[in-house]
């Protein structure tokens, strides 16, 4: 049974595309046949993060308008055989994503794919709505920062009222909180909302905490999803999140400030 996952946040710049790329890659690495779709028509970026921008011929809107077949538009990842990317169109209007068109594409993908990851655009406009409407699960990407938390709360409201599952009276979309750009040191100094604070406010299960890391920028510069980098805390944290998503019980790491002092080391040893 295919699961459709929407990666959403309301606010822009919090790491939706990075997360979509990481989740799609992570699930594919676990052996699941996965497609990741860019819903940000007019501002496409997923192809850059996935490193396939030089191979784009057709896009999501071409498929919806039946100007190309789904197979023509899907780009197979260079590194992982069972990972496919469906890029957004840069030159069309957002409204090109019709409800019927999106549904047709998702249904066709569902015939052969295990997971479909929908990378939502920022905001709560048409594109974001289309990305979430058919979802079975939602990864709500949030920064430890008040405007991001508020926007996530808004998105959770929409997930709980405007999705197909709700309208058809089925079990609601399964929601997961993913905190990104987390800095334990700043939390310790009282300069940043803590995991606990945010969880208390949004009250949905936590699936991962990704520490702020230079390696995320490096990965995007190179067009290699961060999850592939096993030397990066952010990459490892995404890997843990995938494990939790698939039902494993994994302890959270990188959420406490480093105990670098001698005392810290001594006490940790006990």
């Amino acid at each position: 049974m295919t699961r459709i996952i929407v990666v959403t946040s309301g606010k822009g710049g919090v790491g939706k595309t990075t997360t979509s790329a990481a989740f799609a890659t992570g699930l594919a690495l676990q052996g699941y046949k996965t497609a990741v779709i860019d819903f940000d028509v007019g501002l496409r970026n997923l192809d850059l993060i996935m490193g396939c921008e030089r191979r784009v011929v057709y896009d999501f809107v071409n498929v919806i308008n039946q100007e190309a077949s789904l197979n023509q538009a899907l780009i197979r990842d260079k590194r992982i055989d069972n990972l496919f990317i469906l890029p957004a169109s840069q030159t069309r209007e957002k409204e090109a994503l019709t409800m019927e068109g999106v549904e047709t594409v998702l249904n066709e993908l569902a015939e052969t794919f295990d997971y479909i990851v929908c990378d939502s655009p920022a905001g709560i406009e048409h594109g974001a709505y289309m990305a979430m409407y058919f979802a079975d699960e939602a990864i709500v990407v949030t920064n430890p920062e008040i405007s991001s938390v508020r926007d996530s709360d808004r998105i959770l409201g929409l997930l709980g009222s405007k999705t197909k599952r709700i309208i058809e009276n089925r079990t609601p979309v399964k929601e997961h909180l993913l905190l990104t750009r987390y800095s334990p040191e700043r939390v310790k100094n009282g300069e940043m909302l803590s995991v606990k604070d945010i969880q208390e406010i949004l009250s949905i299960p936590l699936i991962g905490v990704i520490p702020e890391s230079q390696s995320v920028l490096t990965a995007s510069n190179q067009g290699i999803p961060i999850i592939v980098n096993k030397n990066s805390k952010a990459g490892l944290a995404y890997n843990d999140s995938i494990g939790r998503f698939l039902g494993e019980d994994i302890e959270f790491r990188f959420i406490d400030a480093r105990k670098d002092s001698i005392f810290g080391k001594l006490f940790r040893g006990r």
Binding site: I146, R150, D153, R154, G157, V187, N189, G190, E191, I201
Partner: protein
């Protein structure tokens, strides 16, 4: 350290953020839950008008504004140009 700082130094910015957020979100929820009948009203109006005139979803807008002790229900129906009347 000024007097102002003296009183505020003990308050961490993350605590301030959490407090502001809690209030904000409670208020957002209040507003979000308010006019749920509006979209239903809009759809019903649309259905009725559609019987006589060829209009689209976007041609009917309904909004509810609150000003102190009075509420203003605003209906805006844009009729099409001549020739599309049924």
């Amino acid at each position: 350290m000024g007097l102002f700082d003296y009183f505020h130094a003990s308050r961490k910015s993350s605590d301030v953020a959490k407090e502001r957020l809690s209030i904000l979100i409670a208020r957002d929820h209040f507003h979000r839950n308010q006019p749920s009948f509006l979209s239903a009203l809009q759809n019903e109006l649309l259905e009725v008008i559609k019987k006589y005139v060829d209009i689209d979803q976007d041609d009917v807008t309904v909004s509810l504004d609150r000003e102190e002790d009075c509420e203003i229900l605003e209906l805006n129906i844009a009729l099409p140009e001549k020739g599309r009347y049924k």
